[in-house]
Amino acid sequence: MTMKALLRTVVLLGTSAVVVGALSCSRRGPQEGQLTICFAFQDLETEFWVAGHKAITETLRGKGIRVLERNANQDANRQLEQVRDAIAQDVDGIIIIPQDGESAVTIVGEANRAGIPIAVFNRPPSDRSKPALVVVADNEEIAEEAVTYMAKVARQKRRDRKWKPLIVVGDLGDRNAVARRQGFFNVIEKNPDLFETPIEVPSKWDPATTLANLEAALQANPDVDFLFTSSDFLYPQIRAVLEPLGKWKKIGEPGHVILGGLDGDSTAYKLMEEGYVDATGVQDLFFEAHAIMDALLDAIETGHRTPEKWIEDPGFALTQENMAERAKDMWGYRVLRGQ
């Protein structure tokens, strides 16, 4: 490449940057009086987050609100920098799905200092020292409800030996994962005559980690016959491990592993419909998304800069027993049916 060609390239790149900048500003700049909300999420790796992202961004844009989307790619430091950038743009409000509860505390503190109302979606801060709007499912209760049904199924199948339970644990830096694990153990501890000591398989909310750890756990404990996953998005990995071992069986077939999870995504619904999964805890995704948006917009409207409110999504357990009546309340069902 000659110097002239290089000069042309540099000028072209510079001009392109300016044009992109100008176009972006003209296209995306806020109009007079238009609200701007930053939606900072940690990633969109599961159906739950994708559906939540869609519900929030589409609803806000539908109300004529300008939405600045920021994806931190699962990096807490990047998310902090992105939120600071958004604050520098004088956004009217912030909605975050934090990487974890600890980073949520730091980020909420940044927003508090700048006097910008902040809402935390589904993954709560690890402590309540800083005011924020938080919507979160009652994960412990929902998990307990789902596992209670699974235990009921286990008890109905009268047999001589105890059941060998296994839980796929989420990233315990996330309060949701801690609560789901607790809900599972509440049921196990209430039924000492029914269950052996559970096996815990860490997933870190990562499919590859889950696959590797679950394979190892089932090699060591081939007699596992009761399995609870802390998130429904890990069912493909669970199937990939159970199927070669001859343990991926429908309800009623010999060798069926009593199976349950939590989230309520479309995969869980399909597997329940096909008869592989016994129960799943359902978070009311659409309730959570709308509740957090309404709370934030209300705070902006009333000029409340550091609002504090914890909104709880009671959720419910969808089981093979109540499926006919309650499936329509499951967000995964509605996603699947295009509702």
């Binding site: 490449m1 000659t2 110097m3 002239k4 290089l6 000069l7 790149l13 510079g14 940057a17 300016v18 992109v20 900048g21 100008a22 972006s24 500003c25 995306r28 600045l68 989307e69 920021r70 994806n71 790619n73 699962q74 990096d75 807490a76 430091n77 990047r78 902090l80 920098e81 992105q82 600071r84 950038d85 958004a86 604050i87 520098a88 743009q89 004088d90 974890d100 600890e102 980073s103 505390v105 730091t106 200092r113 700048a114 006097g115 690890s126 990233d171 315990l172 830096g173 801690v178 860490p202 870190k204 800069r305």
Partner: protein, 378 residues
């Protein structure tokens, strides 16, 4: 022959424009020039880019990354690469935090292998001590330097490829950080430690609140930069780094202790990674086993943009700073432009590619291999 003499010599041949371009292109401040032009051009469209709050953000983002890039620069100069910087950040972050923390939740840490041995519900061994912060930081820096020493010995003495050695280190220490914390973040760190990453000097009013202009991390960055500049520019050892990177065999033949120089480069890199860990951990308020997991591209990207050669033998502290400055300004501006997140990644990748291309071209021009001009000897 000096570079400016070459440029002057070319002018009478009717290539004034080329001479000017060469002067700009080969200037030590080329990337700074680009960064300033880029900032000024975009500022015209994005007034908030120059707001006090955004300048405060830029200032806060520059120094921790700069510290890491300085460390990487030493390794790049000797012709290596250190992929393990991110895992050094992770392991030093959790080790330092476990020593300093004033309380751990048994629900999260009771299954930790160090529970009851080194840590408990009351925190780590330095909990509540006046010496917690200095000792904690010293331990973090020492661990970083020791890992760097292990990397350096493997590369220099065992003649193992730097890519392989540091890749293995990256996996090993990332895994170890997760193992000793069971994936948990370590919180309840001393206020004095958090101040390092979160406090500023000099506050100005910005909208409804005030913002700080000079973060404490600035002082760490400047002190490290001065030390690096002194080593590279004012000592014989500094010349050895460049000599080893340009031609290791020739350096050995010249009597330079190449193995020791290489080991030193990795030790410095490990030390800088640990210092970066101090700055990032204090900023985020926790020891994190995943700290720095995504920062490697930023480190290498900023170094390449600054003009530090991936082939060794070339790099300066101010180039590192210019690279970091451009990278951070670019990052901030792309978000200010409100591009979609995938577009931001595409643009950043393209800029790093262009920077690498420019580096190749600058080398060619330096070596006088451009088709438009005579051979130039610098």
């Amino acid at each position: 022959m000096h570079r400016s003499d070459n440029v002057t010599a070319l002018a009478p041949t009717g290539r004034l424009k080329d001479a000017f371009l060469r002067r700009v292109l080969l200037s030590d401040s080329f990337v700074l020039f680009l960064a300033v032009v880029y900032f000024l051009v975009l500022w015209a469209f994005l007034p908030r880019l120059g707001s006090a709050r955004n300048l405060s953000n830029l200032s806060s983002n520059i120094w921790p990354l700069f510290v890491l890039v300085i460390g990487q620069m030493f390794v790049l100069i000797v012709g290596g690469i250190d992929l393990s910087q991110t895992s050094i950040m992770a392991i030093t972050s959790v080790c330092g935090a476990l020593l300093m923390t004033s309380g751990l939740d048994p629900a999260l840490f009771a299954r930790n292998p160090l529970w009851g041995v080194l840590v408990s519900e009351q925190g780590g061994p330095l909990a509540g001590s006046i010496a917690a912060v200095p000792v904690g930081i010293l331990v973090m820096l020492a661990i970083g330097a020791l890992i760097g020493l292990a990397n350096g010995l493997a590369v220099a003495k065992c003649r193992m490829p730097p890519f392989m050695v540091t890749l293995v280190s990256m996996f090993f220490f990332s895994g170890l950080a997760i193992l000793i914390t069971r994936s948990e973040n370590v919180t309840n760190l001393p206020v004095a430690f958090l101040a390092i990453g979160q406090n500023y000097l000099g506050h100005v009013q910005a909208g409804r609140s005030t913002v700080g202009l000079v973060p404490y991390s600035f002082f760490a960055g400047v002190a490290l930069a001065w030390a690096a500049w002194f080593i590279l520019g004012r000592t014989i050892a500094g010349r050895w780094f460049y000599a080893v990177g340009m031609n290791r065999r020739a350096a050995t033949a010249s009597g330079i202790p190449t193995d020791r120089v290489i080991v030193c480069a990795y030790v410095i890199s490990g030390f800088c990674a640990a210092l970066g860990s101090v700055l990032y951990s204090s900023r985020l308020g926790a020891g994190r086993p995943t700290l720095g997991a995504n920062v490697l591209l930023d480190i290498v990207g900023a170094a390449v943009i600054g003009g530090i050669s991936l082939y060794g033998g070339k790099g300066k502290v101010r180039w590192a700073f210019y690279g970091v400055l451009f990278f951070v300004v670019l990052d901030s501006s792309l978000y200010m432009l409100n591009l979609r997140f995938y577009t931001v990644n595409i643009v950043k990748g393209a800029v790093i590619l262009v920077a690498a291309l420019l580096d190749v071209l600058r080398n060619r021009v330096r070596m006088g291999r451009t088709p438009t001009g005579p051979r130039v000897v610098v």
